[in-house]
Amino acid sequence: MPAPAVSGIAAVAIEADALIVALRAAQDDADKRFGSRSLGALTQGPGAAATLPDRSASAALGEYAKAFKALQAQWENLEADRRRESLQRLVGAQLQSSGVPAVVIRTDVTGSAGNAGFVFANWELVVDEATMKWPTLNDADAKELAETVCRRSRHAEQWYRMAQMLGSEGMSAERIRERMGIPGKVASAAAADRLKPADPRRAYAERLYDSVYGDQAHARQRALGALDAAGALLKVARYKLAAVTNDSTVPASLAAKADEDFRAAHAAFRQAEQAYRTLPEEADAASVASLLRQTW
């Protein structure tokens, strides 16, 4: 019985098994010969300059990846709460290696599989509750979750560096807490752990502070607001498209219009997403996640 074939570009049909082999080899080649460097100026926003080169980051991420893979191996034998505790330990160890206070890992309904977010007001990392209840964690999901958690926990480091920077300028812990809205114990730790003037992390923290709390804060709020709005519009466009697609009585012209509207909403969402990704704190977190991918 011949293997099924897929006809790709140039109308060349290849047996599925052979195509799997070719795609895997091509992916290995892409990993080796094509890096994370961006083509063109699409991702070169104000964020790139905020990234902090950290010689120890690679080693710490290696440890993190190793610990995450160990958690993945144990995943199906652990209850959701034990998984959360394990995650808390490995994220805590990573932050500790950078001198950053540990975050509390909390699970909640996020509506998106594999999602996580840093809540600086509570110094918490919120991880998608449903994800933590998955019976197993395959390789792709483990890598994806590890990357998301790593990216979000980088925000804890960013907020701590900003607090340290304010402490270095002589601001008290109480004022740091008020100015940044972070917990008092984190502000106190930062105020007692100042950055020296020549420390490169200080310039990095200044750049982040400018984006989040300083001169660029309004632009940041606009970018975040635009992303939320574009997401909401895309949801609406998607529902409308689904409704007409599943209804054979809808005239073709209306279906085409719904498809056109969906594509326009999607393009607007990606544009808003791009602006979000060039925010200094997001670009920096993404660069660390990229390093993790290379380490993984």
């Binding site: 790709g8 795609l23 091509a26 083509l39 979000y276």
Partner: protein, 123 residues
Amino acid sequence: MIRIGRDQGKALEAASIDSFESRMLEHLRRHFPDHAARLGETKARSVVRDGMSRSAAYGIVSERGVCTYIDLMVAFGEDFDRSPKYPWAREILFGLDLKSPATRIDRLHDRALHCLAALPAQG
């Protein structure tokens, strides 16, 4: 300190794209020799450029990500992202979540392999 002017920046960007195109053509010849031979250099170059543009619309702009996106175009057809035959592609590329583009392209590649593995054998 070395300063790079706007024109020099554009020239560097163009050189970077040219370099990517050349490496991408070599990559296609190596991994998809039949497709590359059928396309010929001019059409293959056009496919690469089209792939860069299409993947950018999905926020995929890293060299690695664009390379994988073009591999999938070659394997499944240039419109695989909107083909009803491959709903997984649409689901991932038009998704609302804020997973990184690198994660999205890995997920796409993963689902493509699963799709091929699940194809029913032909009698």
